[in-house]
Subunit: 354 residues, 4 copies
Amino acid sequence: MSSSYGNHLRVSIFGQSHSEAIGAVVDGLPAGEAIDLEEVRRFMRRRAPGQNAHSTARKEADEPRVVSGLAGGFTCGAPLCALIENTNARSGDYDSLKNRPRPSHADYTAFVKYQGFADARGGGHFSGRLTAPLCFAGAVALQILARRGVTVGARIAEIAGVCDGPAEEEALFLSAREKEFPVADDARGAQMREAIAAAKREGDSVGGVVEARAYGLPAGLGEPMFGGMENELAHWLFAIPAVRGVEFGAGFAAARMRGSEHNDPFYFDEEGRVRTRANRHGGVLGGITSGMPLIVRAAFKPTPSIAREQETVNLQTGQAETLVVGGRHDPCIVPRAVPCVEAAVALAILDAML
Amino acid sequence: MSSSYGNHLRVSIFGQSHSEAIGAVVDGLPAGEAIDLEEVRRFMRRRAPGQNAHSTARKEADEPRVVSGLAGGFTCGAPLCALIENTNARSGDYDSLKNRPRPSHADYTAFVKYQGFADARGGGHFSGRLTAPLCFAGAVALQILARRGVTVGARIAEIAGVCDGPAEEEALFLSAREKEFPVADDARGAQMREAIAAAKREGDSVGGVVEARAYGLPAGLGEPMFGGMENELAHWLFAIPAVRGVEFGAGFAAARMRGSEHNDPFYFDEEGRVRTRANRHGGVLGGITSGMPLIVRAAFKPTPSIAREQETVNLQTGQAETLVVGGRHDPCIVPRAVPCVEAAVALAILDAML
Amino acid sequence: MSSSYGNHLRVSIFGQSHSEAIGAVVDGLPAGEAIDLEEVRRFMRRRAPGQNAHSTARKEADEPRVVSGLAGGFTCGAPLCALIENTNARSGDYDSLKNRPRPSHADYTAFVKYQGFADARGGGHFSGRLTAPLCFAGAVALQILARRGVTVGARIAEIAGVCDGPAEEEALFLSAREKEFPVADDARGAQMREAIAAAKREGDSVGGVVEARAYGLPAGLGEPMFGGMENELAHWLFAIPAVRGVEFGAGFAAARMRGSEHNDPFYFDEEGRVRTRANRHGGVLGGITSGMPLIVRAAFKPTPSIAREQETVNLQTGQAETLVVGGRHDPCIVPRAVPCVEAAVALAILDAML
Amino acid sequence: MSSSYGNHLRVSIFGQSHSEAIGAVVDGLPAGEAIDLEEVRRFMRRRAPGQNAHSTARKEADEPRVVSGLAGGFTCGAPLCALIENTNARSGDYDSLKNRPRPSHADYTAFVKYQGFADARGGGHFSGRLTAPLCFAGAVALQILARRGVTVGARIAEIAGVCDGPAEEEALFLSAREKEFPVADDARGAQMREAIAAAKREGDSVGGVVEARAYGLPAGLGEPMFGGMENELAHWLFAIPAVRGVEFGAGFAAARMRGSEHNDPFYFDEEGRVRTRANRHGGVLGGITSGMPLIVRAAFKPTPSIAREQETVNLQTGQAETLVVGGRHDPCIVPRAVPCVEAAVALAILDAML
């Protein structure tokens, strides 16, 4: 059951990088929700490859075909299934890698787990391509959340050590979503792009951090202990390939603060609602939303596929070998990871609201 | 179902800080496992309060009473249930806090979620005290894992910005577990203690980071996508109060590395086993264990209970108020959090192995 | 996770016939529900042994001790845990059975499953005694359902081939619950008792059928396919030892009807609500409640413990043997099974309503 | 999560009678299993309509297209997804039924549950057509079970009160599977067909009982209490439309037996294996397999669609109305239900074995 998750909502993702198709089944959606498929496609294009100079050469329409779950444009209570055909799989590209696991990819662990039967072409079920159906499900969740007053946005917080500017105000933070390079401060964005281009020139890659925020969340969402929003959000977010860490509010920085610095005092705002002066708690206390904006960050490792010779092993021959994965891949997947993080956060929140 | 978790193993935790008792039910344990309850008690004492100058005044025997699941000292296949009586609950201490949520505690969110019916005494079900049954379950899991060649240990990696020394060798890393103040480098430990004492003198508190490692894990544990070891470990770890972030291997630091720095090349060791030169991937690739040591870190915020006047609200009167929580609490829960992290990691691993 | 179940509500049952205690943890209950523990005890007494001439000699107070989950008499959102001490376990009685599985008991299958480590005393975790915590959980559910306008009742429908009289009217059907021998028609009840007494005289046992109905259910509860009320009710009901079949509405009799006889025509009642002329569908269509009373029946096999010599095997010696279990057991557990069925039905319904 | 189920195996079924396609995702299959798709198709043809004089006029190729989960003809560890296009949906046929729920169909309960947004065409997600993906998943499970020495077969046990002959021997029982009309005794089968034809002539329908058996099961499968084979098998079986009851071994008949008649004495067979003289327990004791053949029966109500005028309501106008569903439907779905029961049983068993 590794590829399906959710408590009230159940998302099941299927497909391999080079299987006939990939897709998602979303069960448990409320009935009567109008789904704007054009908006879904717009959202999915944000993570599609071939969007810009920074991304892989492989181009896919990523056209989702909804085969069930809608009637007259509204969710009908039956599971929503969307299929994305794999039109542009060039498995030949990967034959050269056969039996030679790419460093820091899942090739080796998949080989062991599935006793050599894993679909190794393009990373199989472990491919970043599987984030396309995740984004489909997330795009649907975002539309339903919007109708409930909840807005989820994400931005690039950092790439190659270059940080985006501050974006405390909701409008500024959410403005990043619209951009081809989703940062609040375009000057910082330009520096990030330069860092990516530099890495690419050197046949290398860079990582970064994506930050998501959710506005309009009611207080009282989530459950104690294992059912906390952090537990659930982390469970969804680590499904995105290359995520190495997840933090909330002040996150790891909180570990270096004193209680007097970190605590968020309560007060009543003009409408008499309970608010906190600051939001170092990231909108979650004891696993339950406080009514302040939810803040979560995910760290992405640098793309493991680099255009340099690397040391590896040949699982067939038992010999040490070297390989060059080739430069067709993103030198930085972080920009394309932004909608994936938005999708995962939206799904975790909708699951908690249903 | 917020207080029970696990896929093959199911841990259900019950109790409030001031209920008659707290405890855990552990279902799905293999039958025929000898459980050394004296060792379980030793483990639980590592998180018990009143161990040292740094911890809260409240002292509890934390004596687990196993009421089911064992026959003749062996697990019998039936759920294992342990009860810990609450012998030393001084609820009076908390009456003063009634209706005045403590900043950065779960008081307010619990109040909202349970419409005023939450057991507010001592944080109720959200109290750090509920980590005692978690440690009971974890202590049992550790004994079963040891029999399968898996050793899990944790240490204080950082407190108040003071980092523990490097501890790459297994023996050095695991040596920390035995210590009253679990660090590899006692000199650094002394600095951490000083930082804690300084915070206490100033009625303040400090946070830190706990690092756990698992040795002897077979390659191939875990599942892709939502069933990855990271997804599961994070799900377990965020059940520990005050955890604000979880990272694996190089974690957030990976976001600042280049692929050529971060990638872990494969090689065959003298026994012909596949190993990686470094372990920046933290023993997990694509959610599945690689056979290298598993490395995970959890960030803890500073104890929200501080002996200083703080701004809050009165949920009854709707007035702004101030409160002083009082100095009976840990100025730093990180040392006591070490066994809790060990427990959560052990449970996640055993669940994946069953 | 075999001993915990529920989707929105999670009931975890622990204990063995002769462990120190047995009990249940009920997680996911709404907060703010007043729980009348005296009423809970009254309900539990309905299944307690030693109530009448028909039941086993073993007498237990079956006094539930609630150790968590309540604050000031109301559910507080934390898991509700009740403990029942095993005060009167006479394990000596069972030594004679060691290694000699009782025919049609779980002794043999438990022996195989747990490789000889099962707690064989009194059937261990498989003992009918474990229905006591199920009844505790069910009694709590019944109080919460009553507040939502839902009444669940059960009666003996048949024992030893003697059927109870018709009881189409709600009041008549529910009147059975109050009785020491829960039937609608006491004359039929007297015949059933005679059949039980006759079987007892002959060192034998008899089985029967329990019928439960739920009144006041809203239309629209339950989910399609695997989440239907039938799927869930059956899942809960088969947790009661000795249940061999579960049917809804006309049940197996429907297999012998024609569509024109079985179909329930729809009409609008005087209040304009949609009703069906008859209720052969048992209040569930396509897994979802129709607003008509829910009707479910569970078949119980005759008590396998009989006072007659039976053929069995000795798992130690590998020799064929005979055994006499002894007459201390119920010649008919059906009367005591009535509250167990009520409990299981109430839990399934509450789970679907939350 | 109503349309996905399984503990170690997760089957997610999607689609509506008239959606673009229907299908299933099967997650958790072991890797390295060769899947013979021709055999899968043969199995699926057993439930396809239009096979014989008894079934509905609607003809579908029911051609499953496997879009993921296989690599080189073997399961690769990734979820297996099969799509079945809806090529022959004549929704026009159903317009006449709009707002007029068919008696004993799910039309009304779906209308209420989904507030009028349910896909009413052909029963939508509640259509018997959704058993096609269930049969796909089951066919795959049967191939994997066969490799593990487990054979599952089913037969018509009864239709319109006509019972099939006894079939205690495995070969005779399993011979029914091969037949176009799956009974052991073809003479009884002829009588059943006559009863079906008679009902059809009168514009009516009949129900029946399907019996499944599993041979070669190891002892020790299943879990106590909520995880018993009965709990799980019933949970899977009630997903098949029109099932009104499920029973094991002697089932409801056991309720009329005495313990001395019902108990199954143990003995050692010539190979020294523990066996029971009879198999009234149906191969399951305490929820756990005994090593004897598993025996389960499911009762099917008569097809609710009959060619007679029936009373119903108009949910739009609030007026009483009558409707005639029309004779295009099966007068008896029991023959086609046989492979569905085999599929559900196979999935429950494989789930317990993984």
